[in-house]
């Protein structure tokens, strides 16, 4: 799981609709897998990313290089794009857990794949 898709993800429990993202990440194993930097793709993300949520997640994972608020100039800065590319596209969470900040539901991450399937009892 990359931090890019994690930023798009919410808690899957039905009825859990407030403060249900970003899910807290408890990392047991992560990996850096190199990928080609695509600046056009990164710039297009400005409308998709929840930057506040991403920043919170990055701090929790000890990535302190990013500003709390984005300025337009940041997207033209090559260093910023390189760092962003590294955390969003190259950092993979392989083993760990996702925890909902609202209902505390845990989703295990095994072999890089989060298990979001709910038990029958969790469906209204």
């Amino acid at each position: 799981m990359r931090l890019l898709s994690h930023n798009l993800l919410m808690c899957n429990v039905k009825g859990c609709s407030e403060n249900n993202y970003p899910l807290r990440i408890l990392v047991q194993k992560s990996k850096i897998i190199e990928a080609e930097l695509n600046p056009d793709f990164l710039r297009k993300l400005v409308t998709k990313l929840d930057w506040k949520g991403l920043h919170t997640t990055l701090i929790s994972l000890d990535f302190h290089k990013f500003p709390e608020q984005l300025a337009e100039d940041d997207w033209k800065n090559e260093e910023f794009l390189k760092e962003l590319h590294n955390v969003l596209m190259q950092t993979h969470i392989i083993e760990g857990k996702l925890v909902c900040p609202n209902c505390q539901r845990e989703y295990p991450i095994v072999n890089g794949i989060p298990n979001m399937i709910l038990k029958d009892s969790e469906l209204k």
Binding site: S5, L8, N12, F41, K44, P114, M116
Partner: protein, 289 residues
């Protein structure tokens, strides 16, 4: 042979043995790849660098076609063995284990499009006593509608068993506020016939019909050198394709040229690649499926 969804739940059917077929059986790979290509064609994306959702992504075959078009994708599937195969094949998308009939939880408007190959019919059959197929279809379509950007499209290839299933699917889609059409390729061939539900997440309100349209009409082999028209959606541009021509100027999937291009791409990504030799892409002896 009874249909898979009438035998057992999807998460049991797609076990490790079944998953292996999706890496080794060239016939399966061929068919799935072609349908994924067709779905992407019908998606008619006007921009590069999109974020797409692959519903029922399985072993990542369809996702690889998305990567080839240069888009980022997130795949979801109920079968962990199939997803594990995708991980083994080092697909470029992010994978999530979801039961689409439970609905799924991505933020509103994050996807520029969605495709699904051969997955939707699984929702039509109740795998457990607690399952109500229409409710599950509705939960799926509602999640899909929310997670698509306004104006974004979803192209869902599926195999309905009968008219009732088809109606249930289109009703659920319409109830979730989707508009669109059902494209039927090769409607006169029982074997080749393929159905694609093409939906748009548009403005809510008003009543919508899902109109059935014929897509491709004749088998590619029958047509020879004639140009073949592809079914046109109301506002999209025409795609005219010559038969025997490569896919949009790209080499045929699994050909030697395709393999070499894939190796180039993986080398650029810094992956270890076996050197090309006279054996690259050679037709293997042994059983041919």
């Amino acid at each position: 042979m009874s249909r898979p969804e009438n035998q057992m739940p999807a998460e049991l059917f797609y076990n490790e043995d079944e998953a292996k077929k999706y890496t080794s059986c060239s016939r399966i790979i061929d068919i799935q790849s072609q349908m994924a290509e067709r779905a992407l064609e019908l998606l008619n994306l006007q921009e590069d660098n999109c974020i797409l959702l692959d519903i029922g992504c399985g072993s990542g075959l369809s996702g690889e076609m998305i990567s080839e078009e240069g888009h980022f994708w997130i795949g979801m599937d109920i079968s962990r063995p199939m997803l594990e195969v995708a991980v083994e094949r080092e697909v470029e998308g992010d994978l999530y284990e979801f039961d689409m009939g439970q609905g799924f939880s991505f933020r509103a408007g994050v996807f520029d499009g969605a495709i699904s190959i051969s997955a939707l019919q699984w929702l039509c059959v109740a795998a457990k006593k607690s399952h109500n197929p229409f409710k599950r279809l509705l939960a799926f379509f509602q999640s899909l509608y929310t997670s698509l950007r306004t104006g974004a499209r979803a192209v869902l290839q599926f195999y309905p068993e009968n008219k009732d299933q088809l109606e249930m699917i289109t009703n659920a889609a319409m109830k979730a506020s989707f508009a669109g059409s059902l494209i039927v390729d090769y409607p006169h061939s029982a074997k080749a016939k393929k159905m694609y539900l093409v939906l748009t997440a548009g403005d809510p309100g008003g009543s919508y019909n899902i109109v059935t349209t014929t897509g491709r009409e004749r088998e590619e082999e029958d047509v020879g050198n004639e140009e073949e028209k592809v079914a046109v959606l109301k506002s999209s541009s025409k795609n005219i394709r010559k038969i025997g021509y490569e896919r949009k100027g790209k080499p045929k999937v699994k050909s030697r040229e395709w393999i070499e291009k894939k190796k180039e791409r993986q080398k650029r990504q810094g992956k270890e690649v076996r050197p090309t030799s006279k054996y690259t892409g050679r037709t293997r002896s042994g059983p041919h499926f």
